[in-house]
């Protein structure tokens, strides 16, 4: 165990950087999956000390499996083959379980996506971090170890480590929790940190903090393997990017060259499908990356996009008027107003005919509360909502009073699977959407098929069940249901957040296209600033239940007024290379 070397201090890393991982021709398969065909094929991967290598790909591309095989965690029945498989300079092909145990924690630390399930709920954060030390650093006294725990917590930017070390994972905020997880991974000063989607569940501002912690480790001479589905996240930090698609490496090289001169069609498509301010009014799914014609600057490329159809009508009458809505929840039995939890406070906005209003904010900012109040599912404690010139909530307005206008307001959820009755096939799901029109059976069928075709599916989907559909197909069905009644307004709550980038691009295209054709107004709620910039005309920024800024999207993003908006924009990761090229 002692032969496992630890991270050298930066001063000692002056010579050629130590090679931590050197893998060539890696393939991983399972005998019982896909008839033993390898799920990961021909991956070459080298990580040096102080270098950040990013594995990028959509879900199911094999990036996590690749990373886990480096610490012997590919799975009990995994068949790992490689032409060269060296971990810390030793051939790891013949490693037994005890060798791997020495590698894990001592040589390589693993940071996973969900800190809440990755930390033991029955132990304090301090004990969790101390455990790695106890296992891999011998001869420490108890007091020394506690001091070491506090030191490593301070390293990852956890304030008041003495107090935090005594808390449990559920008592910490998402950002602190993720930092505690990183602390437990780096406690024994491993030479390599493997971070598997470390920021995916986090808000952008917290994501920026976590990435800063990883950057600090890099400067300290640690090698980092960063796994992400998001090119923008890795663009700022990675030295080397490996793009994976269906178990194979499709693009690999220094970050700048992969982002500016991607060689593989998949990477090119991925980069072109990235939404943002520059893609407004254009299609994302069909966008292509082309080399610039003059070619004086070798290989610089630009994105060519098709225009979306012109909108039927915009900026007419006000469809939705929300005035000063607020929502308070009494805490405990206290009747005192001061003690109430304020989920939403004095928020006002209008949505006009055929317009897209984006609502952005981090988790807990009141986005979904606003959506639920607009949808009439939640009664606000203050303020009023008017829909199509009539009152939509308040005294005397109940579901019966709303029922006539119900078909004119529709909803697209983040997770359509839970929004679909699991016992109903697509046929019945669509019939629900057409319910208000009281059509005869043949007419319902006819409309259903027409709707499926409108969202790029066909009649063969009528008898499929939601569980057998892919994420993109489900979202298309959700859109078909929403537009079935030709609504005046569709409330979209994070409609593309759960989708892979290219699927997201196609769903956004569909949404924009239908919105333009039908002239439906959208209330588009998202945490993703790029998506909001792409789709919305005006934007409302929420923080802690209050509106901090509102205005035309282009203006707000170009010259934000509120401090919070500025911070939000600063924190958002950006594909700098392509932004310049576009």
């Amino acid at each position: 165990m002692s032969e496992i070397t630890r991270a050298s201090s930066p001063a000692a890393a002056n010579g050629p950087a130590r090679t931590l991982v050197d893998v060539a021709g890696l393939s991983i398969g399972f005998a019982d999956v896909d008839a033993g065909r390898p799920l990961v094929r021909g991956v070459d991967l080298t990580i040096r000390a102080g270098e950040c290598v990013a594995l990028v790909g959509e879900s199911g591309s094999g990036k996590s499996l690749t990373a886990r095989s480096l610490i012997g965690l590919a799975g009990a029945h995994a068949r790992v083959d490689a032409a060269r498989f060296e971990i810390d300079g030793r051939a790891a092909a013949g490693f037994r379980e005890r060798d791997w145990r020495a590698v894990r924690g001592g040589f390589a630390g693993l940071v996973m996506q969900d800190a809440l399930v990755s930390l033991d709920p029955l132990r304090t954060v301090g004990r969790e971090i101390g455990e790695t030390l106890a296992r891999h650093v011998k001869g420490q006294s108890r007091a020394q170890r506690v001091a070491a725990v506090h030191a490593v917590m301070r390293d990852v930017g956890i304030p008041e480590p003495e107090r935090r070390a005594a808390q449990y994972a559920h008592e910490l905020s998402g950002g602190l929790r993720q930092r505690a997880l990183i602390a437990s991974a780096i406690a024994a000063s491993p030479a390599l940190v493997i971070a598997d989607e470390p920021t995916t569940a986090l808000d952008v501002t917290v994501q920026a903090q976590v990435l800063a912690v990883l950057e600090a480790r890099l400067r300290a001479g640690v090698g980092v393997l960063l796994i992400s589905h998001d090119l923008a996240v890795v663009a700022g930090i990675a030295d080397h990017v490996i793009v994976m698609h269906r178990g194979e490496v499709v693009d690999s090289g220094p970050t700048r060259s992969v982002l500016e001169r991607p060689s593989h069609p998949y990477t090119r498509q991925l980069l072109a499908a990235q939404p943002g301010a520059h893609s407004r009014g254009h299609r994302l799914g069909s966008a292509r990356l082309v080399e610039r014609g003059d070619a004086t600057e070798a290989g610089a490329s630009t994105i060519v996009r098709e225009r979306l159809p012109v909108r039927a009508h915009t900026g007419g009458d006000t469809v939705l008027r929300v005035q000063g809505i607020g929502k308070r929840y009494a805490r405990g039995n206290a009747g005192a107003d001061a003690d109430a939890f304020v989920a939403l406070d004095d928020v006002s906005f209008d949505v006009r005919e055929g317009e897209v209003l984006g609502i952005v904010g981090e988790s807990g900012s009141g986005k979904s509360t606003s959506a639920n109040i607009v949808l009439g599912l939640l009664a606000p404690t203050a303020g009023s909502v008017e829909f199509l010139g009539g009152r939509w909530n308040g005294a005397g307005v109940n579901e019966t009073a709303r029922s006539a206008r119900r078909p004119l307001m529709r909803y697209i959820p983040q997770d359509p699977l839970s929004a679909f009755d699991p016992r109903h096939a697509v046929r019945r799901l669509l019939a629900d959407g057409l319910h208000a029109q009281r059509l005869a059976k043949p007419a319902v069928l006819e409309r259903s098929v027409a709707l499926l075709e409108q969202v790029g599916l066909d009649a063969s989907y009528l008898d499929r069940f939601p569980a057998s559909l892919s994420g993109g197909q489900r979202q298309r069905i959700a859109i078909a249901r929403a537009i079935a009644s030709k609504p005046a307004l569709i409330v979209c709550d994070e409609p593309v957040s759960a989708l892979d980038l290219y699927v997201q691009a196609q769903v956004l295209d569909l949404l924009c296209e239908l919105q333009a054709q039908l002239g439906t107004a959208l209330l588009f709620i998202s945490h993703d600033l790029d998506v909001v910039q792409h789709i919305s005309d005006r934007v409302l920024v929420l923080k802690d239940g209050r509106a901090v800024e509102t205005g035309a999207t282009a203006e707000v993003f170009a010259s934000p007024q509120a401090d919070y908006t500025k911070m939000l924009l600063r924190s958002a990761p950006a594909l700098r290379a392509t932004r310049q090229a576009a």
């Binding site: 599912l377 929004a419 009755d421 629900d432 319910h435 208000a436």
Partner: protein, 292 residues
């Protein structure tokens, strides 16, 4: 054209048969045995005279207390009745009373469970306390109680055992209703402008009922035991009815000299309950995988 259909047909049926065999192969052996046993019972309920030539009520005193042999496979009882015939005809009583009492529990439990799950908090609290009170008594004691009010008899015993089973159904269905009521797809249906009634019939009720087959199957087993127990105590069908519990009670008097009049009805009860429970547990397992 006809060539194609001729050549395609065997291949298709072959494939279907293959699929059926594969599906059958995945079902565990105990479940298959239990299903076979219940099928046999169902046959005995429908056509008992096809299973045994003897009359369950006809006593031939000359042949009383004969141990099992080639003519009387299960032997004869104290007054010379064929035990096999009585066990076979008894399936009718035990099984039907068991099913009837399960239906009583199910219907009342469903109504209370739905009301509790959909109603206001006060209603929910009240219903839950009713379940608490009902389950505070041992089920057999509660059934005894009800029978002493209603009097003996086949229908009354089904009602009595059924009432004791209400909390089991009621609690599960209330919990299921609460889950379904808050499910996103129900919220969605409201947003889509479906009336309360439409939401209830199209989304809430079918998804609540999805939990029923599993608990119902397991409950039939315990209902059969309860019915047999009450009959044994003389509160159910009266002699000479060939009910299994009644037979056990009759056999008890001669247990010292003859084991067969008690052991065979006892075995019938045990196997029936085991069969229902095995199938119920199996259903709950595959049901759990399919819907969640």
């Amino acid at each position: 054209m006809s060539d194609i259909s001729v050549s395609a047909a065997p291949a298709l049926t072959g494939r279907l048969a293959d699929a059926a065999r594969r599906r059958l192969a995945r079902v565990p052996v105990p479940v298959l045995l239990s299903s076979a046993f219940l099928a046999l019972l169902a046959f005995a309920v429908a056509l008992p005279h096809a299973v045994t030539p003897y009359d369950p009520l006809l006593s031939e005193v000359a042949h009383a207390m004969q141990p099992p042999d080639a003519t009387h496979w299960f032997g004869t009882d104290r007054i010379g009745r064929d035990v096999l015939a009585r066990v076979v005809y008894g399936a009718r009583y035990s099984l039907l009373i068991g099913l009837a009492s399960m239906l009583v529990s199910l219907l009342i439990g469903l109504v209370i469970g739905l009301t509790a799950g959909l109603g206001r908090r006060v209603v929910d609290e009240a219903a839950s306390r009713v379940f608490d009170v009902l389950s505070a008594f041992p089920p057999v004691l509660l059934s005894l109680f009800v029978v002493s009010f209603l009097g003996q008899g086949i229908i009354n015993i089904a009602v009595a055992v059924g009432i004791a089973g209400i909390p089991k159904f009621g609690r599960v269905l209330r919990a299921q209703t609460l889950v379904v009521r808050r499910a996103d797809y129900v919220t969605h249906a409201v947003i889509f402008g479906l009336s309360r009634r439409a939401v209830f019939w199209r989304h809430v009720l079918p998804n609540v009922l999805a939990a029923v087959p599993v608990i119902a199957t397991i409950d039939v087993g315990s209902a059969i035991i309860a019915v047999a127990g009450l009959s044994f105590l003389g509160l159910g069908p009266q002699p000479p009815t060939p009910e299994w519990g009644v037979m056990l009670a009759e056999g008890r008097d001669v247990l010292r000299v003859a084991w067969w009049p008690s052991v065979f009805p006892g075995l019938a009860i045990t196997l029936t309950v085991m069969a229902f429970t095995t199938i119920g547990k199996y259903l709950s397992r595959i049901y759990g995988v399919r819907t969640r």
